[in-house]
């Protein structure tokens, strides 16, 4: 008798499920339709699934209007958000990766990354004004091979820091990277040493370096310039760590706690000065720079 009861219940559940599936299907078809027609105009929030107009996302500084999820920002858009209009002068835009190890498929990957990101490498560097204060800015491009650091990224950052020393300007780096680029092997690893050595020189000149950690900042970038800021800021909920979460889970053979390696966690552990919402970043960076310029003739 119990069995019969159970079965009946189950039957009822199935029918409800079917209803749900039915409405889901309608929804899916709608979405699909939108995808078909307006793929260029619409996109879906990775967190809450809301369908958003790409124009709206851009207007909201690449955040979801519904759940406030932070999309990754193209480097050029970030520069527009931080620098005053028409003040950006780009450095070293011609620098391109070679294939020093003759690594299979690397040339193809570079080409694909360039097509996807419309950039020639995983970083854009240059100078400009932040509410009138001149600064040097390096912004990593997550859409270019996951923002990985090879010879070009290391060289561009190093040159930008050297330029800052020459011009006596502060440096701001927006980090977004999966780490060292394995296709350039040991040369990628050495870029960690190179950029850190340049930052040591900047530090000797008493010029401030603000590191801004965005999603994701991991591997060799975390173990070099990202963690060397005089001031380290982070966007909310960004993944920040040395080893990736999956590697750690494999090593320790257990699941990581919720929120592990997110900005808030790192702040709690004492590795980040401040978490700043995207819309306040320009203002906050400006204020930090402004305070550093007070009572000093160091910057023009």
């Amino acid at each position: 008798m119990l069995k019969a009861l159970f079965r009946k219940k189950k039957y009822a559940t199935v029918s409800v499920d079917n209803d749900n599936n039915y409405s889901n299907n309608i929804k899916k078809n709608e979405n699909k339709k939108q995808d078909d027609i307006d793929n260029k105009l619409w996109t879906k929030c990775k967190k809450c699934g809301e369908i958003l107009l790409k124009e709206d996302i851009k207007e909201d500084l690449y955040t979801c209007g519904k759940c406030n999820y932070y999309f990754r920002i193209p480097a050029r858009e970030r520069i527009n958000m931080i620098f005053d209009k028409d003040t950006f002068i780009e450095y070293d835009k011609e620098l391109k990766a070679g294939n020093p190890l003759e690594f299979p498929e690397y040339d193809k990957k570079l080409k694909k990354a360039a097509d996807k990101s419309k950039e020639v490498e995983a970083i854009v560097t240059g100078e400009g004004d932040i509410k009138g204060i001149k600064a040097i800015l390096c912004v990593m491009e997550a859409n270019f091979m996951m923002g990985s650091m090879g010879s070009v990224v290391g060289e561009k950052i190093t040159r930008a820091i050297e330029k800052a020393i020459e011009k006596k300007l502060p440096v701001i780096i927006f980090c977004a990277s999966g780490g060292a680029r394995m296709q350039e092997g040991i040369l990628s690893l050495m870029q960690m040493g190179k950029t850190s050595a340049a930052l040591n020189r900047l530090s000797d000149e008493k010029l401030p370096f603000i590191s801004v950690l965005t999603d994701p900042t991991t591997g060799g970038v975390t173990a070099s310039f990202a963690m060397l800021g005089d001031i380290i800021l982070a966007e909310p909920k960004a993944l920040i760590g040395f080893a990736g979460p999956r590697v750690i889970e494999q090593t320790i053979r257990q699941r990581l706690p919720e929120g592990f390696q997110r900005s808030e966690f790192l702040k709690e552990k004492g590795f980040i000065d401040k978490i700043v919402k995207r819309k306040y970043l320009k203002e906050k960076i400006y204020k930090i720079l402004y305070i550093h310029t007070m009572g000093s003739e160091r910057y023009e």
């Binding site: 690594f103 070009v152 290391g154 092997g185 040991i186 963690m227 552990k269």
Partner: protein
């Protein structure tokens, strides 16, 4: 026998055969000297053939070999009066990195290195040579001490990588390595780095910024392990041998890429066959280079060190 390397097996088999023949001829008073001579000739040719064509993957095997000497063994051979110091004065003592002061001929030096274990128990204590942040911070403390008392720093590098664990992340593995890179680039005393086994990625680099960087002939140094690369590239860690072939991780590769200054010769088959010889080679190299580095003004020393790391990289 279980410690023998796969590619050396033909050599060992032939050596055993020659041994047997020699024994047989002695015991039975049969003259086999001609046959033995032929086989010995064959053995020499085989050794040349095998040892001169060691593949990258075979080097990985040598670099990780159970009997490969570790930092403390080199310290004992190369220096006198080594005194080990412990702890980072902040969190704890990491047994995966050892350090202290010692004398190299007549020069007082600070010696620091990754430490792998010699057996399972020792390896658990040493965490298989994979440091936590406090290891890197201990190393930095000892480097600062060396700078204060004007002692050159000798580094021995031998780690599969910095430990990828929960606590290592919590205590700032990335920050600890990053800080070492920055501080080592400006440390006002000579730093000489010897890669003796595995140079595993950031965990190796965290002790490897210096004025001279040399590698033992069969040691390796890479951005990721061959297993790691093959699992990323081909979603299969068992293709590590193929990965090792393309990733340019041997001492010769690194010399060609201008990442290191010098390759220190090892006996055929690896250092574990003649630790004295290799220790002597390292010692001679360190002596020669330290005397050159100590003659430099601090500013020149640091400028040269900066240039050295500054120039690494190939692009268009």
């Amino acid at each position: 026998m279980s410690n023998d390397l796969e590619f050396e097996k033909p050599i060992i088999e032939l050596e055993n055969k020659i041994g047997e023949l020699e024994k047989f001829s002695k015991e039975n008073e049969v003259d086999l000297s001609n046959e033995i001579k032929i086989l010995k000739n064959k053995l020499d040719n085989m050794k040349d053939e095998i040892y001169e064509n060691i593949t990258p993957w075979q080097k990985v095997k040598i670099a990780r070999h159970k009997e490969r000497p570790t930092t403390l063994e080199y310290i004992e051979k190369i220096f006198t009066d080594f005194i080990e110091f412990h702890g980072d004065r902040n969190y704890g003592d990491d047994n995966a990195i050892v350090g202290g002061i010692a004398i190299l001929e007549d020069t007082p030096v600070t010696v620091i290195g990754h430490q792998k274990g010699k057996d399972t128990k020792d390896n658990i204590k040493r965490n298989f040579g994979m440091p936590h942040p406090e290891g890197y911070r201990k190393a930095l403390r000892l480097m600062k001490q060396a700078e204060k008392f004007n002692r050159p720093v000798i580094m021995f590098v031998d780690t599969p990588g910095a430990y990828c664990g929960l606590e290592a992340e919590q205590r700032g593995q990335g920050e600890a390595i990053a800080t070492n890179l920055l501080k080592m680039s400006g440390l006002k005393t000579p730093i000489l780095v010897v890669v003796i086994g595995e140079g595993g990625s950031g965990g190796a680099l965290g002790l490897s910024i210096g004025d001279r960087i040399c590698m033992l002939e069969h040691s390796i140094y890479s951005v990721i392990s061959p297993e790691g690369l093959s699992s990323i590239l081909w979603k299969d860690a068992s293709l590590a041998e193929e990965a090792a072939d393309i990733m340019k991780l041997t001492s010769k590769d690194l010399l060609d890429l201008k990442v290191i200054d010098k390759i220190i010769k090892e006996p055929p088959g690896g250092t574990h066959k003649d630790l004295d010889l290799v220790s002597e080679n390292i010692k001679n190299y360190l002596n020669d280079e330290i005397s050159k580095l100590l003659k430099l003004e601090k500013k020149e020393l640091l400028n040269n060190r900066y240039k050295k790391v500054r120039e690494i990289g190939i692009y268009n």
